[in-house]
C-alpha cells in the first residue's frame, strides 16, 4: 500500500516547488506587460493577418512594408517551416486600410495569398475577457455545488468540494504558469482556444478527483475503525491502476493531436497535455491528502498521526 496521505508534506512541497517558477513568470509578465501572459487579439482587440508568399520572406522585409504604410507597432513572425507564410499583428485595420496595405504588399512581393485575416474591435476584446473570467468563476462554483451534492452522504461533504477545488486551482496555477513561461520564451498567445483548454483542464481535474473521492466515499463506512489517513491511502492504492490507464489513453490522443494536428491547435493541445498530467497528479497527491490534512488540522502531517497509523497497521 502507498503512504501518500501519510507523507503528504513531500508532495505538497513538490507542488509548491513546481508552481513557483510559473508564478514568478506570471508576476514578472504582469508587472512588465500588464498581463500574466501574452494576450491574443481575441482579448485585446487588433488584427492578425497571415500571408502566404511565393518565395521566402524575412519577417523584417514584411515589417518594413507595414512601417512604411504607417503601422510602426506591427509585429511579424514566421508561421511554420519554410518561411513562405508570415503572420503580422497590428492594431485593428479597417477594410479600406487593409486594401491599401494589400496593394502595397503585392507591389513589393508579387503574388500574395490571404491565408487568414482576423480583426477584433477593442469592445469585443473586453467583452471576451470579462466573459472568460466569469466562465472560470461560474465553472468553479458550479462544480463546488455539484460536489457537495454528489458527496452529501459522505461525512463532511463540504470538505470534498473545497479540497477538489483547491486541487483544481493547483492544476490551474501550474498550467497557467507553464503557459506564462512559454509565452515569455516562445511568444505563445492566449486566445479563445486557450480559454477552452483551461476550462477543459478544470473539468478534467475535477473528473479525476471525483473518481478517487468516490472510492474514499465507498471505503469510509467499510473501514470505520481506521484513521482517515489509512482509508485514503487504501483508496489511492486501489484506484492507481485506473488513474494511470486513463492518463495514458488521454496522453495517446493528445500526442496524436500534438504531432499530426496542425499548427493552429498546438498551444491548445500543449496546455491540455500539461493540465491533464497535473490533473491526474493532483487528484492522487494533493486532493486526497488535503482531505486528511483538513481532518487532522495539520497540513504537513504530524508525528502523532504517523505513530497512530503504525500502531493501527501493526
Amino acid at each position: 500500500m502507498f503512504h501518500i496521505a501519510e507523507n503528504r508534506r513531500w508532495y505538497f512541497l513538490l507542488s509548491t516547488v513546481l508552481i513557483i517558477p510559473g508564478l514568478i513568470a506570471m508576476i514578472y509578465s504582469l508587472i512588465a506587460f500588464g498581463a500574466p501572459f501574452k494576450m491574443g487579439i481575441d482579448f485585446t482587440g487588433g488584427s492578425l493577418w497571415e500571408l502566404g508568399f511565393t518565395r521566402q520572406v524575412q519577417p523584417a522585409e514584411l515589417r518594413a512594408v507595414f512601417v512604411e504604410n504607417g503601422y510602426p507597432e506591427t509585429l511579424v513572425t514566421t508561421v511554420g517551416a519554410g518561411g513562405m507564410a508570415l503572420e503580422a499583428r497590428l492594431k485593428e485595420l479597417s477594410e479600406a486600410d487593409r486594401t491599401k496595405l494589400l496593394v502595397a504588399l503585392k507591389a513589393k512581393f508579387g503574388d500574395v495569398t490571404d491565408v487568414q485575416f482576423l480583426a477584433v474591435g477593442p469592445t469585443i476584446g473586453r467583452e471576451v475577457t470579462q466573459a472568460a473570467a466569469l466562465a472560470i468563476i461560474a465553472a468553479s462554483l458550479a462544480i463546488l455545488v455539484f460536489l457537495v451534492i454528489a458527496f452529501r452522504n459522505a461525512p463532511h461533504a463540504f470538505r470534498f468540494g473545497v479540497t477538489a477545488i483547491v486541487a483544481m486551482l493547483h492544476d490551474l496555477l501550474l498550467t497557467l504558469g507553464i503557459f506564462s513561461i512559454c509565452s515569455l520564451l516562445f511568444g505563445w498567445e492566449a486566445d479563445a482556444l486557450f480559454l477552452t483548454a483551461i476550462l477543459t483542464v478544470i473539468g478534467f481535474s475535477v473528473q479525476d478527483t471525483i473518481v478517487v473521492y468516490d472510492r474514499i466515499r465507498e471505503n469510509l463506512p467499510k473501514y470505520r475503525g481506521e484513521p482517515l489517513t489509512m482509508v485514503v491511502d487504501r483508496s489511492l492504492t486501489e484506484t492507481v491502476n485506473r488513474s494511470l490507464a486513463i492518463h495514458l489513453t488521454a496522453l495517446f490522443v493528445m500526442s496524436a493531436l500534438l504531432i499530426f494536428g496542425g499548427q493552429t491547435i498546438k498551444p491548445f493541445v500543449a496546455v491540455l497535455l500539461v493540465g491533464v498530467t497535473t490533473g491526474t497528479y493532483s487528484s492522487i497527491f494533493n486532493a486526497a491528502p488535503l482531505l486528511v490534512a483538513w481532518d487532522e488540522r495539520s497540513l504537513l502531517g504530524s508525528r502523532t498521526s504517523k505513530t497512530q497509523t503504525q500502531t493501527q497497521a501493526a
Partner: protein, 468 residues
C-alpha cells in the same frame, strides 16, 4: 441470459445498422431528409457533415449598430437592418450564408467560401441609398442597356465597386456617371398594389419637398427614362408618362407579386435604419481550412487507433469489447453530427477526440473494478455484476462534472469571438453522453453473452478478466 439483454442486443444492432447507413456517403432518400423537421430552414434538411468556416474557409463578420447622435436602437430597427443585410448577402451569391441577430445591437454574417471578405464587407456596410436617376430620352437613348439589376455610377455616390461581386451584371457604362435627381430621403412611403387585371405595380408617395422637385423635373422630361437605383443597382427603369405634380407616382413593370413586394420593401427600407460598423471579422483561406481538415482527420484516426490497441493490449478479452464499444462510439457520434446537424470546427474535432479518453475511462473503471472483486475472492458472475454496479457512481459523477463544465462553456460561447469554445463544448458534451451508453450499456450487453452464458468455464473466464 435475460430477455431484456436480448432486446437490448437487437436494439444495439439495429441502431448500429442505422448509424452505418446514415454515416456512409451514399444518397439518402428524401423521406429521411424530410423527417429532420427541426432543421430550419427547409433547404438545410440534408445529411451532410457541416463544416465550420475554419474548416471550409470563409469570412465571418460581426456588424454593430452605431447610433447617430442620441438615436435609440429598437428591435424593429435591428430586424429591418437584418432584412437589408440578408438581401445584400443574397446578392453576393454565396451558398448557405448565415445572417443572425446577436444581442440588442449586433448582426453576425457568415459567408462560406469568401476568403477575401473586403468586397463583401463593403457591400454589407453600405447604407442603402435609394436614388432617382436621370438616364435620358427613351426614344433616342444613348444608354439602351439600362435594365433591372444593372450596376451604375451616380453623381450622388462616388463608389466604384467591383461589379462582378455586386449585382452579378457588369456595369454596361463604367465611365458614365448618371445624374441623381432625388434620393430616398424624399420618399414618404411605397406599397405594392394590384391593377384591375391583378398585375402588381408599386405606388409611392413623396414628401412635400420631394414632390416639388419631382413635379418640376417630370414636367420637363415626359417620355424620358428615369431609373430607380438602390445602392447603385437599378431596381427599375420606367419611362415618365406624364408630369407628376402631387408627389404620387407608380412604377409599372413585368414583375411578379413577390418581386413587387420585395421592390417596395427595398424602397421603403432601402436605407439602413442605423449605420453598421464592422467590429469583428475573421477570414480563413480555403487552403488553410482544407489543411486543418486533413490534419485533424489524421490525428483522429491515429489517436483512436492507439487507444484501441492500448485497450486490447491492457485488458485482452474485455479490452476487445471496449474496443468494439469505442468504434460504435465513434460511429454514433458521426451519426448524430449528421442528423442534428452539428457544425464541425477545429476545436469541435478536438472536443470529440478528448471525449474518446473519457469514453474508455468508464471501461477502465469497470474492468479494474472486476479485477479487484475477483482478487477479493468473488465468483466471476458476482465480480462481473459488481464491476458494472460499483463503477457506476464514479462514472456518473465524473461525467456529470464534465457536462456541467460544458454547459458553462456553451453559455460563455454565446459571446462572439468565443464561438470556437461552443463547438468544443458541444462535441465534448455529446461525446460524454454517448460514451455513457456505449461504454456501459453496450459493453455490458455484449459481455453478458460471453460471461453469463450457460456452461461457461469459470476458471478460463477468471483468467480473461484478470489478465495477469
Amino acid at each position: 441470459m435475460r430477455t431484456s439483454d436480448k432486446v437490448l442486443l437487437v436494439f444495439i444492432i439495429l441502431l448500429t445498422l442505422f448509424a452505418i447507413w446514415v454515416v456512409l456517403p451514399i444518397g439518402h432518400p428524401d423521406w429521411v431528409k424530410q423527417a429532420l423537421v427541426w432543421q430550419q430552414p427547409p433547404e438545410y434538411r440534408d445529411l451532410k457533415i457541416r463544416e465550420g468556416l475554419d474548416l471550409q474557409g470563409g469570412t465571418q463578420i460581426l456588424l454593430q449598430a452605431q447610433p447617430v447622435g442620441d438615436q435609440k436602437i429598437t428591435p424593429t430597427d435591428m430586424n429591418t437592418a437584418k432584412a437589408i443585410v440578408e438581401r445584400r448577402v443574397n446578392g453576393l451569391g454565396v451558398t448557405e450564408p448565415l445572417v443572425q441577430l446577436q444581442g440588442a445591437n449586433r448582426i453576425i454574417v457568415e459567408l462560406p467560401g469568401i476568403d477575401n471578405g473586403d468586397q463583401a464587407v463593403q457591400t454589407l456596410k453600405s447604407t442603402g441609398q435609394l436614388e432617382f436617376v436621370e438616364i435620358g430620352s427613351s426614344t433616342n437613348s444613348a444608354f439602351p442597356n439600362i435594365q433591372d439589376g444593372v450596376y451604375v455610377r451616380t453623381s450622388n455616390t462616388d463608389r466604384v465597386p467591383d461589379p462582378a461581386t455586386l449585382g452579378k451584371i457588369a456595369n454596361p457604362y463604367p465611365d458614365q456617371v448618371f445624374k441623381t435627381i432625388m434620393t430616398g430621403r424624399d420618399l414618404q412611403t411605397a406599397a405594392t398594389q394590384l391593377d384591375q387585371y391583378g398585375a402588381p405595380y408599386i405606388s409611392f408617395e413623396l414628401t412635400d419637398a420631394g414632390a416639388k422637385i419631382f413635379g418640376a423635373y417630370t414636367a420637363q422630361h415626359v417620355g424620358d427614362t428615369l431609373a430607380i437605383v438602390l445602392d447603385n443597382v437599378v431596381l427599375s427603369a420606367p419611362n415618365i408618362r406624364s408630369a407628376i405634380p402631387d408627389g404620387k407616382g407608380i412604377i409599372e413593370g413585368k414583375f411578379t407579386r413577390e418581386e413587387a413586394d420585395s421592390l417596395s420593401i427595398q424602397m421603403r427600407y432601402g436605407a439602413l435604419p442605423v449605420p453598421l460598423e464592422v467590429v469583428n471579422r475573421r477570414s480563413i483561406g480555403a487552403t488553410l481550412g482544407a489543411d486543418s481538415v486533413h490534419k485533424s482527420i489524421t490525428a483522429g484516426i491515429i489517436g483512436l487507433f492507439t487507444v484501441l490497441v492500448f485497450m486490447i493490449a491492457m485488458y485482452r478479452v474485455p479490452g476487445v469489447f471496449a474496443a468494439v464499444a469505442l468504434i460504435l462510439y465513434a460511429l454514433y457520434n458521426m451519426m448524430i453530427y449528421k442528423l442534428v446537424p452539428v457544425t464541425l470546427t477545429l476545436p469541435g474535432i478536438a472536443g470529440f477526440l478528448l471525449s474518446i479518453g473519457m469514453a474508455v475511462d468508464a471501461n477502465i473503471l469497470i474492468f479494474e473494478r472486476m479485477k479487484e472483486e475477483l482478487r477479493w475472492g468473488r465468483s466471476v458472475q458476482l465480480a462481473f455484476n459488481a464491476g458494472f454496479h460499483r463503477a457506476w457512481p464514479s462514472i456518473r459523477d465524473s461525467n456529470l462534472s464534465t457536462i456541467i463544465t460544458c454547459l458553462i462553456l456553451v453559455m460563455f460561447g454565446r459571446n462572439f469571438g468565443a464561438q470556437a469554445v461552443m463547438g468544443f463544448a458541444l462535441t465534448l458534451a455529446l461525446g460524454v453522453l454517448i460514451s455513457m451508453f456505449t461504454a456501459v450499456v453496450v459493453t455490458r450487453t455484449f459481455m453478458r453473452f460471453l460471461f453469463l452464458r450457460q456452461g461457461a468455464n469459470e476458471e478460463r473466464e477468471k483468467q480473461w478478466l484478470l489478465q495477469n
